[in-house]
Amino acid sequence: MSEAKLEPVAVLKGVTKSYQMDAVEVPVLKGIDLLIRPGHFTVLLGPSGSGKTTLLNLLGCIDRPDQGQVVVAGCEIDQLDEAQRADFRAANIGFIFQSFNLIPVLTAFENIEYPLVLAGMEPDRRRRRVERLLDAVGLADRADNRPGQLSGGQRQRVAIARALARKPKLVIADEPTASLDSQTGLAILALMRRMQERYKISFLFSSHDRTVIKAADDLITLRDGQILSIRRKAAPVVEAAEPEADPDFVDTQADQ
């Protein structure tokens, strides 16, 4: 099967979102149409206030659009109630946060295990999976350490393992390397790339980090709540909204 025929992991159609700032309504996303390809590294690029995080929140099912349709993993998530959305997130979406957001009272092992506990997985199977993930992120010897006993890079590795624990369809990472030094950031990026290749999971980032941008398969540029360009690696140029100079990317038409 060719890549073009694969089911997209996420689709946004005519999505708008605005926030109320005191008495003023501030539009953040203005009619976004977007398709996220499965099994790819997709990066959202744009200046502060362009709507990257809001877009990630909508795709992560932790926020609702004012208008439009959000479909993730084939499910129209606007139709779900709160409990269903929680279950949907647990099963289909992994989160990696800029500040790691590990549960401080849990060990590295337990942080990774927690989504599996929510899934009701039996203890033995849970333990095996967590041990494999810890091994994969290079923290097998740190399983019993709490987040406070780990470095920033190690915490983010735990966060990555936690995001992957339930083998989600989509991992959403909001500035995952922003709190790390460049060396650690590179290592984390390499790790995520390895994980993505190993587990065939779609990664969606927001980032300003050039190394992240370079690693991207698809690069989506946002400005003022609208998609400025979408460039997909190794794909023919269909329409160039605003070409960028990076030779690793070829512009494509914005997904409709």
């Binding site: 932790i62 647990a90 946060f97 929510l118």
Partner: protein, 466 residues
């Protein structure tokens, strides 16, 4: 990893705050239980006192309680020995009864003619040996032994008076009663009047009171009472001691004599009646079954006379009122401390919600439902309640034991006697369980509102929280 473990670890996260909250709860629980222990001891002390003095139950003429004091012979129990024997022989009652004994109450005038004073009194005739046995009853181990019953082993004319009677009849010096000042007016006017010959003759055995010196222990009084046929009768009595009757009103009028003496005084040679049969049981919990059984037994005697059974609560309304008062104060203290606990735990949980806002957002993002967040915080409140209330129980038991061992005393209202100050916490299972469960419930409820607030947090806002 489950909600319980996560909740427990969250409590340990900010130890100082958790300890402060737990201390507040533990001190609250201990305070409630210590007061409850005091209340329990008061209840047991009073109950023991009333049961020792009047038994758990009394069989009386149906109308005696309301009308009998004025005319005991009209409301007496005929054939009371037969009824007593029937109670003692009954296979059901036999297993529960420790003492069945008659009493005869009557009104009269007691006089100390040597001092020229007299006063109206309320006389009671008792069987001393039975009263001695009744005074040994101590189901609740109140460690407050009643003094030996002075009439036991004494001569037939022996009597006990209330402290007030001793004071008014100027018997304190003869009886060695302390704190019994003699009024100046009386001491000046006391003429050591002789007993009039007619009264002396009526009293019978005294002989020539002007010349005869009675060298026996105690003080001499004459007791005038109306006989069953309306004629007056007088008994010359030897007061052995003055006893505190618990209430000033009773102290001012009480005269206790032997049942045989009272019988002779009121009924003379006529067939005697008792105004009540006192029934003391081995355990207070047998009151209800004993009433049921006695009601059946009394039916056999009732065709001749309408009899009724009254328990110690009906006979001593002050006991019920006092216990009700203490219960009300206990309830008030519980509500007060419960309110403080509610706000303390609630404040702690609200602070935890604010501190852990990002964490709540994270948990929600990775798939924990709103109900899961609520469960987590409510579990924390429950654990605070459990640990705090249990600690409070332990503190209360230890403190109450220490106070009990310290041998402190106190003087209850209306009493001239110092009683041991004891707190009955250990063994009061209903109180301890009720208080513990109540505080656990309050701890859990305290967390309900913060838990709801946490679960209602918008995930995006929570993750953005600084």
């Amino acid at each position: 990893m489950n909600t319980w473990m996560l909740a427990a670890r969250n409590l340990l996260r900010n130890r100082r705050r958790s300890v402060a909250t737990l201390l507040a709860l533990a001190i609250g629980a201990a305070s409630i239980l210590l007061f409850g222990g005091f209340r329990a001891y008061i209840e047991y002390s009073m109950l023991t006192g009333y049961v020792r003095a009047g038994g758990h139950l009394q069989v009386q003429h149906r109308d005696f309680f309301l009308y009998g004091n004025g005319n005991p012979t009209a409301y007496g129990i005929a054939d009371h020995p037969g009824l007593m024997q029937a109670i003692l022989d009954d296979p059901v009652m036999k297993s529960m009864v420790t003492v069945v004994t008659p009493m005869l109450v009557f009104g009269g005038i007691a006089g100390n003619y040597d001092a020229g004073v007299s006063r109206t009194v309320f006389g009671t005739g008792l069987v001393p040996e039975d009263i001695t046995r009744m005074r040994a009853w101590d189901e609740f181990l109140v460690r407050n032994p009643s003094p030996p019953f002075a009439l036991d082993g004494a001569s037939d004319d022996a009597a006990i008076v209330g402290l007030g009677v001793a004071r008014v009849l100027l018997l304190c010096a003869d009886l060695g009663v302390r704190n019994c000042p003699q009024p100046q007016a009386v001491s000046q006017t006391s003429q050591a009047a002789s007993l009039p010959p007619d009264i002396a003759e009526l009293a019978g055995s005294l002989g020539d009171v002007k010349t005869q010196r009675d060298t026996r222990r105690g003080a001499k009084i004459e007791l005038l009472a109306g006989q069953s046929r309306g004629t007056p009768n007088v008994a010359a009595l030897r007061v052995m001691t003055a006893e505190d009757q618990g209430f000033k009103e009773l102290d001012e009028v009480a005269v206790l004599v032997k049942f045989s003496q009272a019988k002779q005084l009121i009924f003379g040679k006529s067939p005697a009646k008792a105004t009540a049969l006192m029934v003391q049981l081995d355990q207070t919990q047998h009151v209800e079954p004993a009433i049921e059984r006695l009601t059946v037994l009394l039916a056999r005697f009732s065709p001749k006379q309408p009899l009724a059974v009254m328990d110690f609560k009906a006979l001593n309304p002050f006991y019920v009122q006092t216990i009700d008062l203490f219960n009300m104060i206990f309830g008030f203290i519980f509500v007060l401390i419960g309110g403080i606990v509610l706000f303390t735990v609630s404040n702690t949980m609200n602070t935890a919600v604010v501190e852990r806002t990002v964490e709540i957002g994270t948990l929600r993002a990775i798939g924990l439902r709103q109900s899961g967040i609520r469960r987590l915080f409510i579990t924390e409140g429950f654990l605070i309640g459990c640990i705090g209330a249990t600690t409070g129980c332990v503190v209360a038991v230890v403190l109450s034991s220490a106070i009990n061992l310290a041998g402190l005393t106190w003087r209850p209202p209306g009493s001239s006697e110092l009683l041991p100050l004891m707190l009955r916490v250990w063994g009061e299972n209903a109180m301890m369980t009720g208080t513990t469960l109540g505080l656990i419930l309050i701890g859990t409820l305290s967390a309900w509102w913060p838990a709801r607030r946490a679960s209602d947090l918008n995930i995006v806002d929570a993750l953005r929280h600084a």
